[in-house]
């Protein structure tokens, strides 16, 4: 099969036709840059913190954000921030790739760990927290990751956190919230997270919002980056995993399903946000740590307290 733009051999078949290596790379990069421009994800005054893990999505978003700034002659300061959750035989591999990549690309890398900041690695903390709360590892990890990313990014002066969430991640999150009737949380999704700007929250933006996970992996392969296959050992325990499988089954049978979910959601998002603005959630500083919370004590501190009491 040949590229629909030239006669070269195709590397991917998309809904609108097949593309060769060169045309796919241009198509992919233009899509990311168009997303940044259309949704004004980056402003000239922003100091950018790129949330990174060393996996394919974060390396791609790190590289393309830097490339975007160069292309549009922007002088924004940019640095990478990695969270080490302490997951054995997984995170050390991706962090090694990340260190190597940042050295090559001349990007400043900051790291922060669950162990140093919260007292325990995820591997150690999970059984204790799960025993009393039945919380799954992905839930605990998500709460602590978001907490540390926001705190560190703000402490380091960032005005935006750039994440590597791709179209698959977002479609999964939309369906998860739909199935659980979490309309409040759904209203915070989208290329720019959150409904209102909050002093304690650094806004999160998603340049890979319209990129399929398959496209991101292909991009890293065609760029020749040495991204090792690494799968979190806890990933099969979460609700998201079942939704992911379901959506991939649908996508295989009905191409364009995931894009359809995103398009429908974006059409509804203004309504969800309007509804949320009528009864906004009260955000106040956590009594324990001073970070943003919608209760007296934030979820990160509640989990930390469980470990300390063991």
């Amino acid at each position: 099969m040949n590229c629909h733009k030239c006669d070269a051999k195709a590397v991917i078949s998309l809904q609108h036709g097949s593309l060769c290596k060169s045309h796919f790379l241009s198509y992919f990069e233009e899509k990311v840059f168009r997303t940044i421009n259309k949704f004004q994800l980056i402003e000239r005054k922003d100091k950018l913190c790129i949330a990174t893990s060393g996996g394919k999505d974060s390396l791609t978003v790190l590289y393309l954000t830097k490339k975007y700034l160069e292309k549009y002659n922007c002088n924004n300061e940019l640095f990478a921030l990695a969270v080490d959750e302490g997951i054995a035989k997984y995170r050390e591999k991706t962090l090694r790739d990340l260190h190597h990549f940042c050295r090559e690309q001349n990007i400043r890398l900051e790291t922060v760990s669950f162990n140093e900041e919260l007292g325990k690695n995820l591997d150690v903390a999970y059984p204790f927290i799960n025993k009393g709360t039945k919380k799954k590892p992905c839930h605990i990890c998500g709460v602590w990751r978001r907490y540390l990313l926001n705190k560190q990014a703000r402490d380091l002066g960032a005005t935006k956190v750039v994440t590597g969430h791709n179209l698959d991640d977002e479609a999964q999150a939309i369906v998860m919230n739909l199935f659980k009737a979490n309309t409040k949380i759904a209203g915070r999704l989208g290329p720019i997270s959150g409904i209102e700007e909050q002093e304690l929250f650094v806004q999160r933006v998603k340049p890979l919002y319209f990129c399929l996970e398959k496209e991101v992996r292909l991009y890293t392969i065609l760029k020749g980056w040495q991204v090792q296959f690494a799968e979190c050992p806890y990933s099969h325990t979460g609700y998201r995993h079942d939704i992911q499988e379901m959506l991939n089954e649908f996508e295989q049978k009905y191409k364009g399903t995931k894009q359809g979910i995103i398009n429908s959601f974006l059409a509804m998002l203004p309504l969800l946000r309007e509804e949320e603005r009528k009864q906004p959630e009260e955000i106040k500083p956590c009594q324990e740590c001073g970070e943003a919370a919608n209760q007296e004590v934030c979820n990160a501190c509640k989990m930390k307290a469980i470990i300390q009491s063991c």
Binding site: M1, I12, S13, S18, S53, D57, F229, A230, E231, C232
Partner: protein
């Protein structure tokens, strides 16, 4: 025809008897979802409609990684 397949996810290589013609048919035989893998031959990524040949050595790369 006989082809060799290396699966990245499990880091295993197997020689299989393949009765079809294309990458799509191979993935169907291996019970792999088209959305979750990419197939490469000699470091070149193949589309699902690419024709396979006797004694091909294929790499099946996982799209899904991370958590």
């Amino acid at each position: 025809m006989k082809i060799s397949v290396h699966i990245e996810r499990t880091n295993t290589t197997q020689k299989i008897d393949f009765s079809g013609i294309t990458v799509r048919q191979l993935l169907c035989q291996l019970d792999l979802n088209l959305e979750t893998v990419l197939v490469a031959r000699n470091n070149e990524v193949l589309t699902e409609e690419e024709t396979l040949q006797e004694n091909d050595l294929l790499e099946i790369l996982s799209v899904i990684s991370g958590g």
